[in-house]
Symmetry: C2
Subunit: 184 residues, 2 copies
């Protein structure tokens, strides 16, 4: 995970890991089935860190603020660990999670934490049959903004904001402002 952030994805190689550990080229094969297994393990680590980011930002907040905190944590994690986030976005760890002891904990952290946060947010206290659409909608909103920021396709500066924090907060407020719970 250190390699990933210092040298990028293309440097995350089995031989490099072995070299950095001061061990021989084929040694990692005693710990990982193949390279994909290494990547999966890194992604599982990332999932925990991801959950920590979101928990930290959302802690102590309530209602819409809780949701905003999750979004800020989501985006901050992605920007602090771009390569890891990209890797996690395109890696299927579902079959690996089934073989992990603390699978439920891993699952409730990370992405599903956002879904859980949505489930208890005032965004859904509206009673419409369309309300279940708000879960993928809000999830996709955060996920999409995160991706656009990570890939540099949008920037706070291009929209008249000095720092990331204020930009994200403005976006979240604008998003929540549009939600049916706040426009009855």
């Amino acid at each position: 995970m250190t390699i990933l952030e210092e040298s990028g994805v293309e440097a995350l190689t089995l031989r490099r890991v072995a070299r950095d550990t001061g061990v021989s080229q084929a040694a990692p094969y005693s710990h990982f089935r193949d390279k994909n297994d290494l990547i999966t393990a890194v992604c599982l680590e990332g999932t925990k860190l991801f959950g920590e980011y979101m928990s930290r930002e959302a802690a102590g907040r309530e209602g819409p603020d809780y949701l905003a905190g999750l979004a800020v944590g989501h985006i901050r994690f992605a920007l602090d660990h771009r390569a890891l986030f990209r890797l996690m976005s395109t890696t299927d760890i579902s079959e690996a999670v089934e073989n992990v002891a603390d699978a439920p904990r891993v699952l409730t952290e990370g992405y599903l934490m956002l879904a859980n946060g949505l489930a208890v947010s005032p965004l859904l206290h509206f009673g419409s049959e369309q309300q279940q659409l708000d879960i993928p909608l809000a999830w996709g909103q955060v996920y999409g903004i995160t991706n656009l920021l990570v890939e540099g396709r949008i920037t706070p500066q291009a929209h008249g904001f000095d720092d990331l924090e204020s930009f994200v907060v403005a976006l979240v407020n604008r998003f929540l402002q549009n939600s049916p719970a706040n426009t009855p």
Copy 2:
């Protein structure tokens, strides 16, 4: 681009391209500076196709429907060409675009077409100073939903829809329903 869709990204190799063309291993270096140059070229091709998808779906529509068409085209392209979409999402083609003759055309197609579509959509006819936030918000919404669908993290079935089309239409309608232009 055919290789990409039939065998995935890891199969998109200079040597494979040479082999499939019936030419020798180093021949591609007469046409591409390096592998990254190959990828960039493929992404440029993809950008045109991307624009065609969105144009096709949005053609003949107006107002909110135009925006919905763009979204459907966006998502349909990504699902029809997953590997290509993923590659395009994580490739910076900005410096390549500057050296291409029809740069403006390429730019207005693809991602920026969505932004342009937003600029003329009723979503922004509200006069608020926050309106400029709606561009990244709507862009991120479509982009995020697309990613979640491509990576299989959400499915139409999981939300009670039979096919993709109806699911996307419902999402877009729900999204537009929440926009300030429609909740004055």
